[in-house]
Symmetry: D2
Subunit: 370 residues, 4 copies
């Protein structure tokens, strides 16, 4: 069954309590990077602001834990606190139901919930939850998004520690299922190490043998690329000719490598400043319509913070943003939920198998339809 976007249900502003709600108020930023008291902080949900009586404006470009600034042209903009400039007007009020002129709308795309029973098993998702339907839905969703959306991947290094999953990811890139990638230095380093030495952290990505002096491999890979000047330059020079970084470079897919204190090197493309990295990541999450975060707690949570649950398309249509978290541990999947990224759907498995099944499934779906 082909994927179709769910309908968006706007709030009814003509009914109580919204018909009686006040207009939202604003206060100026007195000091750069500091919000005024009683600022409103955003959620991942659509939020409406009553700018003048009966004029409710949807915040278009939201994400978690931002403040909302009224531009001189009358438009609203979500901003991180540290980006606040002196004099900017910040929306005030913490009510969610219109009492401060702000309405938070979590049920915009929701299906009616199932009838409640007093007693039921299996109310929490775990590794024993069935995931067949998630794969099937992903095939349909990704086929749709390949043509109509923006699929953003967020990746821990484990994806390139294994030959088959690294190849699967390369195929997904080649076939158009990757529109952007956010990762850390390590994913790129070990992908390059695999291209140059067929190892990851010194262990063969297929045969598993620990290579002699293998603990030099990732350092050599970094040093070679740093000498070339950049990964892009290393590709042009023919130093590297396979793998994830190479496939992204060939298709000119946008990539953000966010620096961290764990990094060896780092590679030239790594954004070492955390706030600059967040801004670069935000440029991708602002375009994302589906996010697939695999095997990385740090980056998943960071991207979860930067990704709203909806997106307003150029034609004004409002659609959901889908967010998948693939991890081995319930704790990691729940962590995202517990930080407010409530719409994230967890798939509990090894990233290696996830990528292999997904790529083969997309492939055979494609083949069947020809």
């Amino acid at each position: 069954m082909a994927f179709a976007l769910p309908a968006y249900h706007p709030p009814d502003f003509a009914k109580p309590p919204l018909n009686d709600a006040p207009v939202v108020s604003f206060a100026p930023v007195l000091e750069k990077g500091i919000a005024p008291e009683n600022y409103h902080a955003t959620t991942i949900f659509p939020e409406y602001y009553q700018l003048s009586k009966a004029t409710w404006v949807l915040l278009k470009d939201s994400r978690m834990d931002c403040v909302v600034v009224l531009s001189p042209d009358g438009s609203l903009k979500a901003k991180e606190f540290h980006h606040l400039e002196k004099g900017e007007q910040v929306a005030l009020g913490r009510g969610e139901n219109g009492e401060d002129g702000i309405y938070v709308h979590p049920e915009a795309f929701a299906q009616p919930p199932p009838a409640h029973e007093k007693f039921a098993f299996r109310t929490l998702p775990t590794r024993e939850t069935s995931f067949s339907i998630d794969y099937d839905e992903l095939y349909e969703l990704m086929a749709y998004e390949r043509e109509n959306g923006f699929i953003l991947w967020v990746m821990g290094p484990a994806a390139v520690f294994d030959r088959d999953s690294r190849n699967a990811l390369v195929e997904l890139i080649r076939q158009g299922y990757v529109h952007g990638l956010i990762a850390g230095n390590a994913l790129a380093v070990h992908d390059l190490e695999a291209a140059l030495f067929q190892t990851a952290l010194g262990q063969e990505i297929y045969g598993k043998r620990l290579a002699p002096r293998g603990h030099y491999h990732h350092l050599d890979a970094i040093n070679l690329v740093r000498r070339a000047g950049s990964m892009a330059r290393a590709m042009e020079d023919g130093l590297v000719h396979d793998g994830v970084m190479h496939a992204l470079w060939q298709k000119q897919i946008p990539l953000v490598l966010a620096g961290s204190i764990r990094d060896d090197g780092p590679l030239p493309e790594v954004v070492k400043d955390a706030m600059q990295a967040k801004d670069a990541m935000r440029a991708l999450t602002a375009r994302a319509t589906t996010v697939i975060a695999v095997a990385t707690q740090l980056h998943s949570i960071a991207v979860g913070n930067l990704t709203p649950g909806y997106r307003v398309l150029p034609d004004g249509q409002i659609r959901p943003v889908y967010f998948y978290v693939v991890d081995m541990s319930e704790f990691a999947a729940e962590k995202l939920t517990n930080r407010g990224s409530l719409a994230a759907r967890g798939i509990l498995t090894n990233v290696q198998d996830f990528l292999v099944i997904l790529q083969r499934g997309l492939n055979s779906r494609h083949t069947m339809q020809e």
Copy 2:
């Protein structure tokens, strides 16, 4: 590359310390089920007993933590302590290197170890270890074992909680890759529940909806089968016509359902007495040449206890017994290692994905070879 059995390297009995070793001594069982002091306990490795000078006899049918009894006909037999009968002669001595006339031989099939370095990464297997080669080796191994060996599966219930993995397991059975199955009541119950209601513990195995009154489903399944008299009878009566139990029944594959204190029902086929269940399991592990234990700590450890690392074939050839443990947690995989089942190879992933990849991989290998 087709699978070939590794060569067996017997010890050199002509060299020290074995050429000078004493003959093994025995002492009688004085009381049923009690071993004499200084009894020898078996390991999973091949063990040789010097019955008379220069006559070293290999224990043929070993497993962990048994005692060794000398039969009147001069043959050796491993027995659980609780099976010891009064008057039986039990081998004595705890030396492993011949000092008591017993030689434990862990390196019988071993490859030469890699050269040692002072410093290396990734010496422990974890979820980030590459598993591509394990799948490829499994395809070859299972193709070989389907014709020449005995593939014993050990299963937790999660395998039937998901539609695709349940179907994959059914296909593996149909295609001849399952020669025996050891599980608990729950695997059978939820497989029957899936056949009758398309749910597991009340949740749809594909759509994930919690069915209304779904917590009755497994109880209804049990009650219906108990009324029929047995699972086999329920199959004959046409009550159940798909799933794992049905496929095993159709192909007459031996099945042991070991009872536990968690069991609802239980189903008529369940062996409620733990020692009787162990004996029934042992009848299967004695035939096994490959064991695949998925998503069950209880049964994996139990079967690990009952499975030696080698088997003597009818023609006298000595071959390894392969033991795979598939689990989501390093702890579960290591637990087997930490209990002495040292040869067990861990694959860290969700059983659902493991079964799907394995079955599809075997299938496409088969298709390619036609």
Copy 3:
């Protein structure tokens, strides 16, 4: 603040829908161990049965997934399916709100829930949840239960793998905080091994050294106790003079060791038949007012099945039964919740530290009050 039992809030039978509810109907058992169609299955909650118009009878001795039998004397009794005798009258109907004459009452002790917000962090309990208050509540609860209740412990073997936690458990027994214990063969075996050899599975429980030939220790412990005839006899003979089994024996605390297919030996006290073991466990859970299940998934789930969420005291008072699950993994804690033991409270930590903190905390509370 001293612990006080929460009030019980009975349903209002004079109001709709209960005032109009029919009388519950019954059907006879036609075959031993088989329930009639449309049987009602119990939950862990209080359940009321309208036996005649306006006479609602509370089921006193419930637990999960049983059927309800009307005794000739007019009383109701929960029974496992396999205990059903031919001719017994079984309650029918699956409605929970009186529509079949049965009312399930999950909110009997509930506090009013907190006001709902559209957006909140940390709605799921994980390892990062605060547990200070759980310890403090446990101190108060256990002080109360020591005098007024029945504290049932359910234990995996890890509790005796460590010197300090083993000692803490011994102290808890001596001080009266353990009224019953359910475990498997392994807990007893390794506790005896520790008493005899200061090791668990061959590793010192304090110094961690692997003892020479240490893999014989648990086998020797079992063989010695089997020779003595029983653990009790081994204690009387002076073979064992410290540890958990010894402390239980000294204070004559009821103990159930449920057999499993993993068991070496087993020890003479082990109940090898799973259904007999369940009955023996049920005899303890029927008396329990607080259950503390630590580091065992198998036994926790089994006891969860056997333990209702309430108990009717001899004087007719209805009180909650408290159920704690202490485990390292969210999955284990959630598994209990996902099987319907909804009232179980999870504490995510290592059993070693849990026992040490609990015992020391109870001790210093006691000291302070003197």
Copy 4:
């Protein structure tokens, strides 16, 4: 038993292969931040460099994956690749046994290993390993280090999510057991949130209630501190008067908060550039004699990279650096081992309980000795 430093065993340079080893060679850096080919990369172990015949010089200030630079004054210095300056002389050669004039010395402090057996249980540390002795050793070690060493803590935020563990950490700081702390923005933010609102991420750190509008608490805490200008200023202004940050400030303990892409705010003290943060962390790890890393995978691995296994004291004495990793998952503990921080000792438990037991244990040890 009081703690005593283990003896250091230097290599015997007069014996083969070292007596015949060549002098180490160097090559210049041709481009800033790029190492010459065949550079030598450091390990966590003591390493000796033969600068002229029979003059072996110990690298004093090492850590993992650095290059070694010969200063004009003839001393050796470990440097990260990105700190290499043009013209610097970098040691060459990848042999570990003198073949390139470099000797890696992993066994410097080692005890003789236990006698090998062919068969043993429990060779891997897991959650079921005994940890009593680790606590006891930590009490002795920390008492020694408080007077003679430098105890560096590395912390995830979970430590302040619970009242008792937060208090325990504050006490450890006050009592002199914390000489430096490395953490992320989140630890500080939620500690300040706890000081101001008694919550962490909106949940009470004792009562566990989700506070109304609690998802504003951490944002308000950050905004208030940013308005004050710094945490230090907020303390001086009396805004915050309890907790971990306050105790560190009172005792003027060095603190590094390393920025990450997950950070809200961040707090003014956070070092946002990853390489600058590493340098600041390195300033602390260079002084550390004991590292205790709790409940943080990111920071643990980063600090593991920056911490050698030994330290040369001002008087020339060479001593080990102790490294503890406290985590709930075997995977996290093994990850450090698998990245070469081989000396790290894992304690598998919840950080809350770890801190509480450690602080109480140190306290009662102190009390007993008075």
